[in-house]
């Protein structure tokens, strides 16, 4: 048994920022991460991070309130408005702090942090570091974690929570490099495990973005909020679904259909390519569905040629490298084939603005959480912001909640039972061995189902079919066989155990989507094409139950911006 006051699960931006906050306040904190924190998926973020710094010549009268308005409008009014204001008010401070810690933001000539236009934003407020903002921010926070001598348990795969008298008191983890299970005990646990993109076959996300943290909280009785809202990024590379940043369009890139037309003029005439992601993805999908993809196929072009080699080298060097290495296309000379791809989970573990969940001792921050600031559609540049704003706030909340609390760390029967339960689960899987269901067949079926039945456009019959398939897959999960049980770096074990949680997260998405008979943000139904505030201006709460998720709803916090029709 290992004891730390605070256990942070996940070493991406949210987890690192939370850990730094708590450690600086004197809390004994440990990070558990499936990969070295510097390899987390936060590092794949490209285009930038929003804050009303008013550094841009065209943005000198930008304010946090305007940023909040754009965020709420972008969310199709499903964001909690107090939470949006909180995030945008915290934004300048947390970004200056990242600069003070060495984050290499790009600069304007006056030495201030550079900003660029992004979709759905009234001002150019996306602070950036070339097109590798996530990578640079992640390394800056990893550096801070080393500076603060935060204990990092690297390559620990967390499998379950330890819950004692209704309070979260630790986790059970698999030690990937030494083998075996370990009990980690703490007074508090922060989940910062990222999104669930890998439930879809067409995702921009890293292979480890499997929704594990959300699934563990859900299984422990904490509800998942607004899971049906799944963001499709307009521009994923055609063959690999690797992200081509929104900054491509922020810097002036075009979207072109098979007829050579800048088709966004028909969908968002005033902002063109800089419409929010839900609208842009739908527009691309409509062009493809109408046979106006390139050569009639299921992709269109992202054209950067007119920007010139010099601008690409300065502002979009990573984009150019990715297009060359992964699509065989040099954007200086050729347009890039792209299509909308799953990118971000707006939903997640239900939390307040300080990361607290309904379970004492359990907190969540980053993509695995849902505060909610993104509502039905997240604006580009708000996810990096979310990680450091709400990571910091969750860390501070733990500091406040643990004040005056005596440290424990005694071995308890509950911890031992939690370890034994995971051991029994692994033994049952291994007992079926090669005779059991093939987890990789189930995984492939699930990811195809999510792509085909819960995509950019949705409709009752198609979703019902998808839901039935997922329920059947859930049944098959009960008899999965694990072919390799022991040893070190056991990918069979990790990938089998994460699958069950993925199916449950997928079911929460599907059930919420079928129930919500309206179109709002990313949830776009051809059979219910309009937003219905009367009935549906409310958050979906999915609770784990036998036979599939049980849904109820809770109100959206309004009161600052009046919901209006969303036009761009």
């Amino acid at each position: 048994m290992v004891y730390h006051q605070l256990i942070v699960v996940g070493g991406g931006l949210a987890g690192l920022r939370a850990a730094v906050e708590a450690k600086a306040a004197g809390i004994d904190v440990a990070i558990l991460s499936q990969v070295h924190p510097g390899r987390s998926h936060s590092g794949a973020a490209q285009g930038g991070i929003n804050a009303a710094l008013a550094n841009h010549p065209e943005g000198h009268d930008d304010t946090p309130e305007k940023h909040a308005f754009d965020t709420v409008k972008g969310s199709d009014y499903l964001a909690d408005q107090d939470a949006a204001i909180q995030m945008t008010s915290d934004a300048p401070g947390v970004i200056f702090e990242m600069d003070h810690w060495g984050c290499p933001f790009s600069r304007f000539d006056d030495g201030r942090i550079a900003q660029r236009p992004f979709g759905g934003a009234g001002y150019p407020r996306t602070c950036y570091a070339a097109d590798k903002t996530g990578h640079y921010m992640l390394h800056t926070l990893v550096e801070q974690a080393y500076k603060h001598e935060i204990t990092m348990y690297i390559e620990r795969f967390v499998m379950d929570l330890i819950v004692e008298d209704g309070e979260c008191r630790g986790v059970v983890a698999y030690d990937m490099t030494k083998g075996g299970l370990e009990e980690f005990r703490g007074e508090a646990v922060i989940m910062a495990t990222g999104g669930a993109g890998r439930t879809y076959s067409n995702t921009t996300n890293a292979v480890i973005s499997t929704g594990g943290g959300a699934a563990m909280a859900y299984h422990a009785g904490v509800p998942l909020k607004d899971m049906e809202f799944v963001q499709f990024h307009p521009t994923g590379l055609y063959t690999t679904h690797i992200l081509m940043t929104e900054a491509c369009r922020g810097e002036g890139g075009y979207l072109i259909n098979g007829e050579g037309e800048r088709f966004m003029r028909r969908y968002a005439p005033s902002v063109m390519e800089l419409a929010p992601r839900d609208i842009t993805s739908r527009s691309i999908q409509q062009e493809i569905d109408a046979g106006r993809g390139i050569d009639g196929k299921d992709y269109v072009y992202l054209d950067l040629r007119h920007l010139g080699a010099e601008l690409l080298a300065e502002k979009l060097p990573g984009t150019r490298d990715l297009a060359i290495h992964f699509e065989g296309v040099d954007p200086v000379r050729e347009p890039i084939p792209i299509q909308p791809c799953q990118h971000y989970s707006m939903g997640g573990i239900d939390t307040d603005v300080d990361g607290r969940t309904l379970m004492p001792g359990l907190y969540a921050a980053g993509e695995c959480a849902c505060v909610s600031v993104h509502g039905a559609n997240r604006l580009g540049g708000n996810s990096l912001l979310e990680t450091i704003v709400f990571g910091r706030r969750a860390g501070a909340a733990v500091v406040a909640d643990l004040a005056g609390r005596a440290g424990g760390g005694d071995a308890s029967a509950v911890g031992a039972r939690a370890v034994a339960a995971v051991e029994a689960r692994v033994a049952a899987l291994a007992g079926r061995g090669a005779d059991g269901q093939d987890p990789y067949a189930i995984r492939a079926d699930m990811t195809a189902t999510m792509k085909d039945h819960f995509g950019v456009f949705r409709e009752e019959k198609q979703m019902r079919e998808g839901l039935e398939r997922l329920l059947a897959l859930k049944q098959r999960c009960a008899t999965i066989g694990l072919r390799n049980a022991g040893g070190v770096f056991n990918l069979d074990l990790i990938r089998t155990l994460e699958l069950e949680g993925m199916v449950d997260v997928a079911l929460a998405v599907a059930t919420g989507a079928v129930a919500r008979t309206e179109s709002r943000g990313s949830h776009s139904r051809t059979d219910y094409p309009t937003r219905d505030d009367e009935t549906w201006l409310k958050h979906t709460m999915a609770h784990s139950a036998a036979g599939g998720p049980r849904l109820d709803y809770k109100p959206v916090t309004l009161g600052i911006f009046e919901p209006q029709e969303r036009k761009y």
Binding site: R39, H100, G102, G111, A206, I208, Y440
Partner: protein
């Protein structure tokens, strides 16, 4: 369907001797976009669930999957089979590093050396209310070293690392360089002792294997030479920047 042949080095700590050299062969369904990483996943899912390798972003930014592929340091995710022009894909862990299992190297020394150079911005002045001003020209000096993904290819390729266990190696020194050239850094003498010594910059003999090995096309050798010159300038003239 066309097929690709994989020849993969294996090591199971529970069964193999430390210096064992065991390879397994696999045939993987091939399409023109297949990467080495996807090939390894195909093997792990359908042929040998025990095959172990690191992975994460599959987009060449996380640094997990640096391996020795057909005799060169490469990121498995960034290596498309059609670019290898080879009948057989030989996949080995990065050489000269201790092994955990199969293609997974033990990176603990690598990160201990990274930590040793105090790889964080050091400031003495009070923080301003907004950003610390930095001109585009000052910022440009950071372009090369900040793209390091800590994959370890340079470290594995460096003969000075092979022959001197204590040598910090190219990645850690590149990180030291990254902060020494940052106009916001005020470390002065605080970080210097970590690299201005026989474990540090002077152990680099400009063999430049690191330059060839780096999958991000960075130049650690150049950064290390800058450190050597900065140390000399400091001794002669009392300043380093």
């Amino acid at each position: 369907m066309p097929e690709a042949k994989f020849h993969v080095k294996r090591y199971d700590p529970a069964r193999d001797a430390k210096d064992a050299s065991r390879y397994d062969d696999f045939v993987v369904p091939y399409d023109s976009s297949l990467t080495v990483l996807e090939g390894l996943f195909s093997i792990q899912e359908h042929q040998d669930g025990a095959l172990a390798f690191r992975y994460c972003c599959r987009a060449s930014v996380c640094g997990s999957c640096a391996m020795y592929i057909n005799g060169k340091y490469r990121l498995a995710c960034q290596t498309n089979l059609r670019h290898l022009h080879a009948d057989v894909i030989t996949v080995e862990p990065m050489p000269h590093l201790p092994l955990v299992t199969d293609l997974v190297c033990d990176m603990s020394d690598f990160f201990a050396k990274y930590e040793y150079v105090k790889p964080w911005l050091i400031r003495n002045s009070a923080a301003p209310e907004t950003e610390i001003l930095q001109s585009p020209e000052e910022r440009k000096k950071l372009d090369m070293p900040i793209d390091c993904i800590l994959c370890g290819a340079c470290y594995s390729s460096c003969p000075s690392v092979w022959t001197e266990d204590n040598y910090l190696g190219p990645a850690a020194l590149l990180k030291a360089y990254r902060f020494e050239v940052d106009s916001r850094d005020e470390a002065r003498k605080v970080r210097l002792p970590s690299w201005d010594n026989e474990r540090g910059a002077y152990r680099c003999h400009t063999i430049a294997n690191c330059v060839e090995a780096c999958p991000k096309e960075l130049n650690p050798t150049e950064g290390i030479q800058w450190l050597k010159m900065a140390a000399v300038r400091r001794r002669l003239f009392g300043r380093s920047k």
